[in-house]
Symmetry: C2
Subunit: 379 residues, 2 copies
């Protein structure tokens, strides 16, 4: 089956480009002697995660318990959860995960330390090994994380908490998606590595062993991998790249492996076209982390003057420059602004190679709502 | 099981409010002698669609073939497809749908008429009844649709096309979501009804019978239902309402039946809180149709001063006024900006009544990507 025979809208992944992206990032880590732990929220797909592991990743980073559990089911044996996911009903899920994989948790407050210790303290008392914990450090993203100078305080709390073992520090420089040039990206990368290295120094000065000094984002990866004192990088988006990454200079259009295919449904005016791809395929992200970085809602491949001006749920309105012709029935390929949110909107991605459909890639780690009884029954 | 025992993040629907919303819209239609055909892209759920049918809806309006097929599977026998969904692979799906339900299509170009006639012309020649077609009229939304004065031209094309029967006209006033006051909404409603009534007049003057004069959006429904010459209203969002609808004066917060529940994970600064609800639960919509109407990414119920300032994929950063306290572990209820895109992000909604969990509501008509072979095998 050929690419052109796929019904639209559909989200496809060029497998050659995907594999090249995976290998390039693995090589960057290898050549710089740092571990690679991909953030898999980007694709939520065991198929792609396993490709990353085969290329040399040490494990994966997950944003949700659904993702962590799905990776465990796929046989990945080393999973870090990026956020302090406390709250009702997490207890049993965390215990099951820890029994199944090498689990690492992340905290940025005394309350989270207490919550996780309440889960794993009793297990440790019963003879199970403690669970590794990373301290989340704020490197300028102003989201989660403690200041580097507060790392030792929290480190002491982790160290003292039954069932937990202090393993290191980590940060995600979310503010990199507010950059408007590659130079600014390099500056953010310096903040990123500076913050965790400073936090690690504080912890070591306080007498703690710090095994892991982890950073990560796709745009900063090439700087962070080379920085002194970093042990682990955790980029995610690089498997697909997207319009935002090209705006940040982290990738070229030909590195973007994920595309949404659409069909022109209408040409209501000489300068507009309506396609069957809307925010329920592209998402309405203009940037990551709520930031606006790009024009319109994606890049139309081969039509540089065309702007995806407005998205409704299942339609988008394109504006065409005077010399660009798109007829009703024509097909378009779109590089979304944000591939991570686009991939989350479909049940499967379609893997293609040189224009031929090769396989489907199920996106199985999407949010799965369940009542806690179901969760228990699922044990 | 109680609401407070649900794991977060989770999307819940208050069934009392849902049923009240469904009944109120049904009564509006009944009292004004117009048919109600709800747009079901809002919920993509057979359970809710059947409640709408039981309350008196004549059928449903679908935005995608996946939605139309899922409604047919659920036993709903009258389905209109809102957009001219032409393109590869639609032929067999449309034929199967037409064999199963009273199907109505929508067109706004000669090309779409030809494409649909190519599907249904041969079937009609073989003795099957023609398929009803509505002409989409632009009432100011500048998306799909012909100008009212061009309706007769397109009407003649439909009339002449084998396999198709001209059934009427329809419009969706998407630009209502650009309004900033209830007065402006009333103005858009006048444009909406004016455009289709004018188009119907042109068609009748050209000698055609016009059975259906359809309009629809939730904010304009109460005006459109009372307008002269309208036969059908097609609101969708009203089952849930959301922050955008409250900004437009179409609903109050207590009419908003869909809420996303989250937990405070971190209090990184005195004036910020981080919750476990991000754009993969709320969407990053600031308005419908790409318009920005509201502050932040949703309304935090009971915390009027709190703003959902930034959303990442699985987290949001709230800013708190000085006197608002939210502690780590506290739970929040969020009315999303746009309930239609929020509901599309989960596999099930959790139906609650007076704080008690009553049932799950599967969201089964979400986008389902498949290779055409699968589609054929599925016949």
């Amino acid at each position: 089956m050929l690419l052109d025979q796929l019904e639209t809208p559909v989200t496809v992944v060029d497998l050659d480009v995907l594999e090249r992206n995976i290998e390039n990032m693995a090589r960057l880590a290898r050549e710089n002697g740092v571990a690679l732990r991909p953030m898999i929220k980007t694709h939520k797909s065991p198929f792609i995660a396993k490709k990353q592991m085969e290329a040399g990743a040490v494990g994966v980073l997950a944003a949700t318990l659904d993702e962590a559990e799905e990776m465990a089911r796929a046989g990945i044996s080393d999973v870090t959860i990026a956020y302090p996911l406390i709250g009702v009903g997490q207890r049993e899920r965390l215990l099951r995960l820890a029994a199944r994989v090498k689990l690492t948790l992340s905290v940025d407050s005394i309350e989270a330390v207490q919550a996780f210790s309440a889960v794993f303290g009793p297990a440790a008392a019963a003879g199970r090994p403690p669970v590794d914990v990373l301290i989340i450090v704020d490197s300028g993203g102003r989201r989660l994380g403690v200041a580097p100078e507060d790392a030792a305080l929290l480190g002491r709390a982790v160290h003292a908490a039954p069932g937990l073992r202090l393993a290191g520090v980590a940060t995600h420089p979310g503010h990199v998606y507010g950059c408007s040039s590659p130079e600014q990206v390099e500056h953010v990368a310096a903040q990123e590595t500076g913050a965790v290295v400073a936090a690690a120094r504080r912890l070591r000065a306080a007498g703690f062993t710090v095994d892991t000094v982890a950073v990560g984002s796709t745009p900063t990866a090439r700087f962070a991998a080379r920085a002194e004192g970093i042990t682990e990088i955790r980029p995610g988006n690089y498997v697909f790249y997207d319009a935002i990454q090209t705006a940040l200079g982290a990738a070229a259009a030909e590195d973007c492996s994920l595309r949404v295919l659409g069909t022109v449904l209408s040409r209501p005016t000489p300068h507009t076209a309506v396609i069957d791809v809307g925010s329920k395929m592209l998402s309405s992200d203009r940037g990551a982390h709520g930031l606006e970085l790009v024009r319109g809602y994606g890049m139309v491949v081969g039509h540089p003057g065309v702007v995806i001006e407005r998205v409704s749920e299942e339609l988008a309105v394109l504006t065409l420059p005077g010399d660009d012709a798109l007829d009703i029935g024509d097909r378009v390929q779109i590089i979304p602004n944000h591939a991570c949110t686009a991939a989350n909107l479909v049940d499967v991605l379609v893997g293609v190679r040189q224009g031929v459909v090769e396989r489907t890639i199920p996106v199985t780690a999407r949010r799965r709502i369940r009542l806690s009884e179901d969760a228990s029954a699922d044990a």
